[in-house]
């Protein structure tokens, strides 16, 4: 009974231990067995992530529809929950088209990179106090690093397709992703600073109070910039259908296109997970320490909440123009992120010297940080509004009626 | 376990390959790629020496980080130079950029 309770508390590690015991019992060397187990674990994790996408797609379509006053998928399964499966079957059976003049290896490598770059993030995400891939002590930096692989995939896709639209999409992708990486890293440094560690699990452990209360600005900026990293609306310039057809993925078909699709959805959910982990206390919750399986539940609950916001943003906001996108990054986010980081570091140091920490005096600590954040934001708004100039929009030609037949 | 010699031989090989690239490639960008390989070889050496000979002194890693910075600076300046050169002379082939001859 007791064993059963232990198993229920932490089924994942329970199964892993059971298999480990089974393998070593068959006479396998312990480290080989451990390595094998890790490989299997990674496989399961990837599979889980990919499966998750099925739900995510349904969820997003449903949300989309409801917000646009439609019903959305409602035929296959309960509330259309199985709608994704026929879609999958359809996409599996599509023809693979490889354009002439494409660079074969990068062309085929690109979708793989796009998905694997996202999945690599999962390696350091602690799903619960005991369930995680690797407790890397440079976890946050690792997340930033593998983000580069994803953008590499997009660039390769754009270039290798030998298509002008795709290339333009790739250029946009690079300028957007490389630019937004700067404020994203700066925003990520804030929780690192507060927790005094780069290990993701340690950051979760340090959040006796959710960091979104201590560093709301950093959380906000992380959410915005990671949206840009994903390349979803309002930052979907790299695939902007109305301008460059589908951007970098224009020449892909069938499952290759599906992989980009999966990568995007998974990425969106992954950043929700990351936001939840770094700013919303991760798997922390009542009894999560004793019942690790509860932690998984809490984490996904929080991530779902964030994901809802992300989807809402995608639905509600129109696309940026490219100059607006770059201006927003370099003239708004980056300076703000720098200020937030420096001020947070300063305040943290002062509070630390005054012996006010998250552990010793949580209320005062949080209030001081909140006030500072509010102050920065207010100051920034004031600056931005006072410097705002009415820019004159140059009139290039006379406005032309769109639906008037030409005069004879 | 892995002896230090493996790393050193690996670094020497990487360095030599990079050197070949620097000396033999026509395109200036490719030369820069070779330079990157050489810098990486040096970095591997630094880190290997740090780990095997003086793990308690952090100098090896610190130098490696400096080299990262230098490499980034070098690539940025180098590539912008090539772009600028291309604009004026319509080539970045190293052997054709020989204004500085007699």
């Amino acid at each position: 009974m007791n064993d059963f309770l232990e198993f229920v508390k932490d089924p994942v590690n329970g199964i892993a231990n059971w298999i480990f015991g089974l393998l070593t019992g068959w006479g396998m060397a312990p480290d080989l067995a451990g390595g094998l187990l890790k490989l299997v674990g990674a496989g399961v994790m990837c599979l889980f992530g990919l499966m998750l996408v099925i739900v995510l797609i349904w969820l997003e379509r449903k949300l989309y529809a409801r917000i646009q006053d439609r019903l959305g998928p409602n035929r296959v399964g309960w509330w259309g929950i199985l709608q994704t499966f026929p879609d999958m079957v359809k996409i599996f059976t599509k023809e693979y088209i490889t354009p002439k003049g494409a660079d074969i290896v990068p062309y085929n490598l690109a979708p793989i990179l796009a998905v694997s770059g996202v999945l690599a993030v999962w390696a350091v995400l602690p799903l619960s106090s005991t369930i995680y891939g690797a407790d890397l002590n440079v976890g946050v930096l690792y997340i930033v690093g593998v983000g580069a692989i994803g953008s590499l995939g997009i660039i390769l896709a754009g270039w290798a397709s030998n298509n002008k639209y795709a290339l333009v999409g790739a250029f946009r992708a690079v300028s957007q992703m490389v630019s937004y990486e700067v404020p994203m890293v700066l925003a990520l440094l804030v929780p690192v600073l507060l927790a005094r560690t780069m290990g993701v699990n340690s950051i979760v452990h340090a959040q006796s109070v959710w960091f979104i209360l201590v560093a709301p600005l950093a959380a906000l900026m992380f959410m915005l910039t990671s949206q840009a990293e994903v390349g979803r609306a309002p930052f979907d310039l790299l695939e902007a259908e109305s301008e460059i057809v589908a951007g970098f993925q224009v020449e892909y078909s069938g499952l290759k296109f599906g992989m980009f699709f999966v990568g995007e959805f998974l990425h969106a959910f992954t950043i929700s997970l990351l936001t939840a982990t770094l700013f919303l206390g991760g798997w922390r919750g009542p009894w999560a320490q004793e019942w690790p399986i509860l932690g998984v539940f809490y984490l996904f609950l929080k991530a779902a909440a964030v994901y809802f916001l992300v989807v809402l943003m995608r639905i509600a906001l129109p696309r940026f123009r490219i100059d607006q996108m770059l201006n927003f990054n370099w003239k708004v986010l980056t300076p703000l992120a720098l200020v937030v980081l420096m001020v947070t570091a300063l305040v943290e140091k002062i509070l630390f010297d005054a012996n006010i920490t998250l552990q010793s005096a949580p209320l005062g600590y949080v209030l001081v940080h909140l006030a500072i954040n509010a102050l920065i934001f207010a100051g920034y708004l004031w600056l931005a509004l006072s410097n705002q100039k009415q820019r004159e929009i140059p009139v290039v030609g006379k406005p032309r009626p769109t639906a008037v037949p030409p005069k004879p | 376990m892995i002896p230090l010699s493996w790393y050193l031989i690996f670094a020497a090989a990487l360095f030599s390959i990079g050197l070949f690239g620097v000396l033999a490639r026509k395109n200036a960008v490719a030369i820069l790629l070779g330079v990157e390989l050489m810098l990486n070889a040096v970095n591997v050496n630094l880190v290997a020496f740090w780990r095997y000979r003086a793990p308690n002194m952090i100098a090896g890693q610190a130098f490696a980080i400096m080299i990262f910075a230098v490499a980034a600076a070098e690539v940025a300046v180098g590539l912008s130079l090539f772009i600028s050169i291309y604009r004026r002379r319509k080539t970045v082939v190293a052997n054709e950029i020989d204004l500085m001859k007699w």
């Binding site: 390595g35 290896v105 990068p106 440079v138 690792y142 930033v144 690093g145 580069a148 660039i155 270039w159 250029f171 690079v174 490389v178 990486e181 780069m198 | 376990m1 892995i2 230090l4 010699s5 493996w6 790393y7 050193l8 031989i9 690996f10 020497a12 090989a13 990487l14 030599s16 390959i17 990079g18 050197l19 070949f20 620097v22 033999a24 490639r25 026509k26 395109n27 790629l33 990157e36 390989l37 880190v47 740090w50 780990r51 095997y52 793990p55 952090i58 610190a62 980080i65 400096m66 230098v70 490499a71 980034a72 940025a76 300046v77 590539l79 130079l81 772009i83 600028s84 291309y86 604009r87």
Partner: protein, 169 residues
Amino acid sequence: MTLLQFVFLVIAAVTLLSAALVVSSRNLVHAALWLIVSLFGVAVLYALLDAGFLAVVQVVVYIGAIAILFVLVVMLSPVAPKDNRSQVDARWWLPGVLSVLLFGGLVWMLSLWQGFTSEVPPVADANQLLVQLGSELVSPNAYVLPFELASVLLVAAMIGAIWVAWERK
């Protein structure tokens, strides 16, 4: 042969092979892509050497910034020729011989050193190493000056790069 040695050999082989492709491939974009593979191999080697931070920084800086910059320049600008002409000099054998000579000389010279085959000493705590690196990089007694100089260098290089590549109308 232990697992680690096996891993090392595989990674080293991949790295060297892709490095060779970097210097020999005719398509510059491919060369840049092979460079990424090679750099990734080096990052794995860093991880094997217990320098996890450097490994990640290698990925962030080299692959995330430098290599992407290469790829971008090669794709974007007309500096890379679009045809498949040979990308090495006609007299490529001379550098080749020189490189081989240099490699041989280096290995020989190193083999004369008694520390050539030294084994890896145990290290207490990898976490502690990271903390030590972090504190020494900003400690006035250690590397804060080089560190700051490096940042100044980066800024100067960035401004210089923008200035040089600026297209003046």
